[in-house]
Symmetry: C2
Subunit: 335 residues, 2 copies
């Protein structure tokens, strides 16, 4: 974890009446020392404000989504709203207030003075100025999604996007798809890069063409798919949409182009929106389990803030799950 | 709204090159002045930090639930989690970060230094120390639920709990209930007092006995209802549970006591939990529309922080709705 301003090991050693080596062992969970001693050292360290930006502690954790530092409202997207709900409950259960920043706050410099003891940063891209500033301030960080600029000792929680992407593609192939396209992000966060790389690797291993459509959140009617879905033999017969609205965009495009789902076009969408169980047809979804991810990340962050570093053996990999619905079932037997 | 430290009307008048009377009209939405002037005065006032705790603005709104300043986790209750999700989205849409405080934070004095431009306080009881401290600091406040210590000019968003309670009781009476009990809170927030008073008034007008069972969040099995639901003629044949878990507590109690729902016992619960549509039997619920309430409250608060007081004609009354399910239908015809 990041080292931060505050008392030194020697300060804690004096106050707890032990050696600095014992303090180091107690705080890092190493060595062979008694529980009572470890506890006393921990309590002393916490009392002295060790591992925090220095008293007065704000007893506040922060959350930011830094991929797109614009005015988009991530709280209206199911993955994030569900993650925020779980994170709030987890933070309060540990006695912390939780501050969520609007997406465009990542574009100004207000986080230079943000009063938080620790920060959970979601989908951090490469060259993330907020991460740079918070690291410089020594604010403990936990990432949801491997950070674009990882450092040794970073703590993050993520899914195994390569395994999940391959599971989806194998499922679509098993259901009869021959030309499987990917709708992926144009962002620089790990998720977009990992899903795209896994897709390209999967296609290369099978000599299949890589058909990638950029995600456009504003394209309600899925016009971005028109070229991909037209043109007889060469059109895609399946799409994995890696972002939440993609499934609805695909249903709209298929309806406009007269394609049956799943008969002519199989659809899988990464989404936490239960509404996909009620679309026509219901859309197969990949859930990344944002509640479990957020709880794990907040727990990690609170441990870091409290200097309980032996409990923070990251990274944490949260299982994702493919929920198969009608939109990606095998084409009905013909003839 | 509360007056706060910062520039005076005269300061704004000088900077905007208008009279102090014009400033007052522009900020309060009174008088007959042109839109351009009103806008210029507003912008000047905002630029000077008028109506805020003074620069630097934190561009952060806070939320606290102050009824029970203990370690209960309100974020795990459907009403609050849904309100928080909507409040986060509304705050971010206005460019504000949102800080939610754990329930027990209302018991310490950290809010004396809490870095917020405005605060949304939910279920504020009488003698609320947080409200007292924030009023003293001149922090703009909006209440979800009429505050226990209201002041002229307070801004709040609430439902009409008397009308809703009477609607529920009339529905239960129409479905054949003769001895209708209320499970209500022992808190001092307006909601508990308003629902209880409305129930007692309704009973008094009909010469019906007032049967009130205190809510106990820990009573999963509804043992608190045993006395009420035993004893032949005198037992209650319907209960309105004014708190979320009450419906499940009642189903557990009825099963233990061998009572059929709704045949022997009609149940209505105030809850935002969609899970009540899937219980056996499905439970009739009252929804208070926490999303609409939270959006309205955050909008009011942002207007107050920005000095746009002509938009803040409170109070706002949000309609509640009774959703009738099997648990409160008329007893099947007998004989």
């Amino acid at each position: 974890m990041c080292r931060v301003p505050g008392p030194t090991l020697a300060d804690i050693a004096r106050a707890a009446e032990v050696s600095t080596a014992t303090v180091s062992h107690a705080l890092n969970g190493t060595g062979r020392i008694g529980d009572a001693t470890r506890r006393r050292v921990r309590e002393t360290a916490t009392r002295l404000g060790y591992g925090t930006p220095g008293p007065p502690r704000s007893r506040t954790l922060g959350i930011a989504v830094t991929t797109f530092p614009t005015a988009w409202n991530y709280a209206e997207i199911a993955y994030f709203s569900r993650a925020l709900t779980a994170a709030t409950s987890a933070a309060h259960a540990r006695g912390y207030a939780l501050t969520t920043l609007p997406a465009d706050r990542a574009a100004d410099d207000s986080w230079h003075s943000l009063a938080v003891d620790g920060m959970l940063i979601m989908d951090s891209p490469r060259g993330d100025p907020m991460v740079h500033a918070l690291r410089a301030r020594g604010i403990p960080l936990v990432f949801d999604g491997i950070p674009g600029d990882p450092r040794p000792g970073d703590h993050w929680v993520d899914n195994d996007h390569e395994a999940t992407t391959h599971e989806v593609l194998d499922h679509l192939a098993a259901s009869g798809a021959r030309r499987i396209a990917l709708q992926s992000g144009n962002g620089d966060e790990h998720y977009a890069r990992a899903v795209t790389a896994a897709y390209e690797r999967w296609c290369a291993e099978r000599g299949a063409p890589a058909l990638i459509v950029p995600f456009d959140v504003a394209d309600d009617q899925g016009h971005g798919f028109d070229e991909l879905l037209r043109g007889g033999q060469d059109r895609a017969d399946a799409v994995y949409a890696a972002y939440d609205p993609g499934g609805r965009q695909l249903l709209a495009a298929a309806a406009r182009l007269g394609l049956r789902v799943p008969g002519d076009l199989r659809v899988v969408c990464a989404s936490e929106d239960p509404g996909y169980a009620a679309t026509d047809p219901p859309v197969s979804t990949v859930t990344l389990d944002p509640e479990r991810t957020a709880r794990a990340a907040v727990g990690l962050l609170a441990d870091l803030v409290e200097g309980a570093t032996e409990r923070t053996a990251g990274p944490v990999v949260v299982p994702a799950a493919l929920l198969v619905r009608a939109s990606s079932l095998a084409r009905p037997a013909e003839g």
